[in-house]
């Protein structure tokens, strides 16, 4: 058939990186895993069905905070068709994604901490039987007082939701000062103080979590599950089940979307595994959509206070940022998220002195964790909206202001993050041109407006969750005599196209097409460890490992072919499924022949590749590892909106955006990542809320999710999408495979502030909180009409007893990355830390 793979006209590319002769990389390709997807053949976890398979359902807490006095499940167990009932006593060992937050049990042992916390599990011959048996379990709860938000958590030290953390219901506090901000503010011509609030939101992946566990013919455990992190799940299963990891196989099935929501080891995965081992038959669990809302691990709600000092020309003299974070009922990635609410505030604009304090509290709600952009969309929203206010105060065009203060390539920031290539300048210039910014800003009729914002994101976390000296990604390559190439990887295909990236890199090096490559990913038995699909790390890290493995295989084949053809090795070229002499192209062998010569010469051809992030010697202070990355991407976006002053309705008409991605390995997929990020950003900007309310006192007073269904949790539909114009700013980064940097998260970050800034341009009201709903706009318009501050947003930041700041002088003040003080920390009980095997 004749459908071409043409890229749409709404995508432009600054220029194809010059000086290369690539056949696969950079061209629009059909992704390697897509045929199964369009045919309905791809096997997601919920599509697995095994002989004798039993089904599991979980009884969840109806209370936000309660002690479990007793569980009587005898009636449930007696019901025909029920095989097993599990409670917390069966799975008492604590686990969690981070070594410092091992605070979950697969089923609550003596306490529930949010509505939806798992209390008991029924395993039965059919799902319906298991579901109905849940009603036959009698749980005796002692209701405890609940905490609904961080301010309440700060004010309420007892009862504690967890027995660890800083104190009371404070999970984590951090405090840093990079240069003395007081003197920075003294040098400022203007100081702006602004409060912002960013509401929580959830991933809402189309696939509900599902798992199938089986005790295999050797008595070992196999778990197929929709996880983004098979390696970390592997570790947690070994810990909780008390088995050697070698007796556990985790297979990450293709995820029907992840967005960070499948990055924790999750209780249902452990429950299904335990049940399968006990029953000796496969056990399946598929969460309902409502259960997925309770599983959560989504965007943290964050209250922020930005104090920024600037000179008249826009130069920043100091930034003082405080964040107060609503963590929900468990730790999850929260300690990392806490650091991330401030780590990247120095990576877009030059901030000479920076103070950052963050506090995460526990509350009686489903746990928050990493969602696309992990911890950074919230402070980026605050910073970029404040930048718009600064521009107005200084009477400088917002784009011009940003250009003046943008960071430079290879800069070392105040908090010692080592930047790589930086395309921010070009991103801003191009988005200004594309959008016609200069003809629109403050010039459109009332009710229409444009807003601009920028951002920066990691290309893979520089630090692993467990500190050790082992690689972050590994690849094994196997070459077959028939010319087939197999890539075995620990990476997880969550829809982002990681299988295609690996296939493309290997194909490019070996002179093949991606259709010649088979990728087996996400299986802990088949592939080497990869830390997982999070922090936008896979393309760069697993990609570099694939590059190394392919180069090694190529070297072996080249040596054998050179011998055979009597040609110097360096004259050989691999292209078009052949190996030939560049000086005399008729001297050639086919790729399968090359493999045969290689195998005859060396034996079986298999190679490995590994990737370690570059050593990051700069940030030596405690906590300095968070925010480090091999390199960073930059984005800029302009939103054009229409605001109806009668209804408060915001219609986003157009988005222009530019993204500095190093190189697009497959522009079709890269565009999909950009547009998907913008879509998700628009959802957060305008409508998505993982929000809670208290039921009336007479109805239990419980704290419940407002909208635990896809109908009520509003997300953008096809009708809500604006026109989007994208430009790839491609300047290959030496640290990325073929120069590639991330593209899956960064483009989301400028969208929310760009929309907020556009709303201000349209109707002159500041909405300093997301989502920007019609109610908030109407409220701010009413304030405006009444002659008061035309704004909707938080009005106070509660007192937090901040610990003494860790003081680290920035590089330009002679700092070497070490702290110059040792703040005393109150002794605090920690949960049992998992032993780290190697350091």
């Amino acid at each position: 058939m004749a459908i071409n793979r043409d890229l749409p006209k709404r995508l432009s590319r600054t220029s194809k990186p010059a000086g290369d002769d690539l056949r696969v990389i950079g061209s629009a390709r059909q992704r390697v895993d897509v045929r199964g997807k369009v045919m309905g053949q791809t096997v997601y976890a919920d599509d697995i069905s095994l002989p004798r398979m039993a089904h599991c359902k979980i009884l969840r807490s109806p209370h936000p905070h309660a002690r479990i006095r007793n569980i009587d499940f005898s009636r449930a167990l007696a019901r025909p068709g029920v095989y097993l009932v599990l409670t917390g006593k069966d799975l008492p060992i604590e686990y969690g994604i981070l070594p410092v937050s091992q605070d979950e049990t697969a089923l609550c042992v003596d306490r529930v901490r949010h509505v939806g916390d798992p209390v008991a599990a029924v395993i039965a011959r059919e799902e319906l039987i298991a579901f109905e048996a849940l009603d036959l379990i009698d749980v005796d709860y002692e209701i405890l007082p609940t905490i609904s938000d961080p301010e309440e958590a700060l004010a309420t030290s007892e009862p504690r939701i967890h027995d660890y953390g800083e104190e009371g219901n404070i999970h984590k506090r951090v405090s840093f000062e990079f240069g003395e901000v007081g003197s920075g503010f003294a040098e400022a011509d203007e100081i702006l103080e602004d409060l912002f609030f960013y509401e929580g939101s959830t991933h809402l992946a189309m696939e509900q979590h599902a798992s199938v566990a089986m005790k295999d013919r050797e008595g070992k455990l196999t778990l197929w599950t929709s996880t983004q992190v098979p390696h970390y799940l592997h570790r947690s299963l070994a810990k909780v089940l008390g088995l050697p990891t070698g007796h556990i196989r985790v297979v990450a099935t293709p995820n029907g979307g992840g967005f960070g929501g499948k990055s924790d080891p999750l209780n249902h995965e452990i429950i299904a595994s335990k049940a399968a081992l006990m029953l000796g038959r496969p056990v399946k669990i598929s969460l309902t959509r409502e259960e997925v809302f309770y599983c959560h691990r989504g965007r943290h709600p964050v209250l922020m206070k930005f104090k920024t000092g600037v000179k008249k020309d826009g130069t920043i003299t100091a930034l003082d940022l405080q964040t107060l974070i609503d963590g929900g009922g468990y730790g999850s990635f929260g300690v990392a998220s806490t650091f991330y609410t401030g780590a990247l505030q120095t990576t877009t604009y030059h901030v000479p002195r920076y103070k950052f304090r963050a506090c995460r509290t526990f509350t009686n709600k489903p746990p928050c964790g990493p969602k696309r952009g992990h911890g950074t969309p919230q402070p980026r929203f605050g910073q970029e909206v404040q930048m718009d206010k600064i521009a107005e105060r200084l009477n400088i065009d917002p784009a011009e202001l940003r250009l003046r203060i943008a960071v430079q390539p290879n800069e070392l920031t105040a908090n010692f993050l080592q930047l790589g290539t930086v395309g921010l300048d070009q991103c801003i210039r191009r988005v200004v041109e594309m959008s016609g910014w200069k003809d629109k800003f403050r010039k459109l009729p009332e009710g229409r407006g444009v807003g601009l914002a920028c951002s920066c994101y990691l290309t893979g976390a520089g630090l692993a969750i467990y500190w050790n000296k082992m690689p972050h990604s590994g690849i094994q390559l196997k070459l077959d005599r028939g010319g087939g190439v197999t890539v075995q990887a620990g990476t997880t295909e969550i829809g982002q196209g990681s299988d295609d990236v690996l296939a493309a890199i290997v194909a490019e090096i070996l002179g093949l097409q991606t259709t010649d490559i088979r990728v087996y990913s996400g299986d802990t038995d088949l592939g080497p460890v990869d830390l997982g699909s999070y922090s936008s790390r896979v393309t760069l890290m697993a990609g570099n490992a694939a590059l190394q493995a392919a180069e090694r295989a190529k070297a072996m084949l080249a040596e054998a072919v050179a011998e055979k053809l009597q040609v110097p090795m360096e004259r050989l070229r691999f292209a078009d499924s052949a190996v030939f002499d560049t000086a005399a192209p008729e001297k050639r062998v086919t790729f399968p022949e090359a493999v045969c010569f290689g195998e005859a010469r060396f034996g079986t051809i298999g190679t490995v590749g590994s990737y370690w992030p570059p050593k990051m010697p700069a940030a030596q202070y405690k906590g300095g590892g968070v925010g480090t990355s091999p390199t960073y991407t930059y984005s800029a976006a302009v939103a054009e909106v229409e605001v109806n002053p009668a209804t408060g309705w915001v219609r986003v008409a157009k988005i222009w955006n530019t993204h500095d991605l190093g190189r697009a390995l497959n522009p079709t997929l890269a565009l999909g990542q950009v547009e998907g990020s913008i879509y998700m950003g628009l959802g957060e900007a305008l409508m998505e809320e993982q929000a809670f309310r208290r039921l009336p006192k007479k109805l239990s007073h419980a704290l419940v999710h407002r909208t635990p269904s896809m109908l009520d949790y509003k997300s953008p539909t096809s009708l809500d999408m604006p026109e989007i114009f994208t430009e790839f700013v491609e300047g290959p980064d030496p640290r990325g495979p073929f120069g590639a940097k991330e593209v899956g998260q960064g483009p989301l970050l400028p969208i929310m502030p760009a929309v907020a800034n556009a709303v201000y341009d349209a109707v002159g009201v500041r909405i300093d909180e997301v989502p920007i709903t019609p109610e908030k706009i109407l409220k701010a318009l009413a304030e405006k009409r009444a002659g008061r501050l035309p704004r909707s947003g938080p009005t106070h930041f509660p007192d937090v007893s901040w610990p003494e700041a860790l003081r680290v002088p920035p590089p330009w003040e002679g700092g070497d990355g070490h702290a110059i003080n040792e703040p005393s920390r109150p002794a605090k009980p920690h949960p049992e830390k998992e032993k780290v095997l190697t350091r």
């Binding site: 309905g40 189309m206 565009l671 913008i678």
Partner: protein, 174 residues
């Protein structure tokens, strides 16, 4: 153990229907409470149609029932006796992808792929009814099918490319 092995009443396969599934007549017996989605997946082993919410909110379970797009999670299988059902498995013929499938594959219309079967089925229903829909008609027709990956634009690209391909094909046949 004897009581445990007894088949509970609600699980007994007392219902039975005969349908035309992707052009083939099939008989299936099942527990009467089941939806068409459950019978397709659990009793007929057609896993291409997906669960997304079980409440008719997401469109992932869309199938064609007598040519009309329906949410199979809201249709009782018992209501389908004698009717014609088309699922994503029924679109390709003789190993050749349907133009919609080919376009989604080539133009980025499918990322994680979970919404894809429902999306393609809904698009097919539109094209069966309106061979040359406008851009707005496409947006409208797909508005009940949620996708969290693509931001929808590459899905619109895919549907539009398929329309061109289908009409080219028809023109050649004439």
């Amino acid at each position: 153990m004897t009581t445990k092995q007894k088949l509970p009443a609600e699980s007994q396969r007392t219902a039975r229907i005969r349908i035309v599934l992707n052009g083939e007549e099939v008989d299936v017996s099942f527990a009467p409470y089941k939806t068409l989605l459950e019978v397709l997946r659990e009793d007929l082993n057609h896993m291409g149609t997906k669960h997304g919410c079980e409440l008719g909110e997401c469109g992932a379970c869309s199938v064609l029932l007598d040519g009309e797009p329906v949410l199979s999670c809201l249709v009782l299988a018992l209501e389908c006796d004698g009717r014609d059902v088309v699922t994503i498995e029924g679109l390709a013929s003789d190993g050749e992808l349907h133009p919609l499938q080919e376009a989604f594959a080539k133009l980025g219309g499918s990322q994680c792929g979970y919404c894809t079967p429902g999306m393609i089925i809904t698009a097919k229903a539109l094209l069966d009814r309106v061979p040359h829909p406008s851009h707005d008609q496409i947006r409208e027709a797909l508005s009940g099918n949620l996708c969290r990956c693509t931001g929808y634009l590459q899905i619109f690209d895919s549907v539009e490319a398929a329309i061109t391909e289908i009409s080219e094909h028809k023109r050649k046949l004439k």
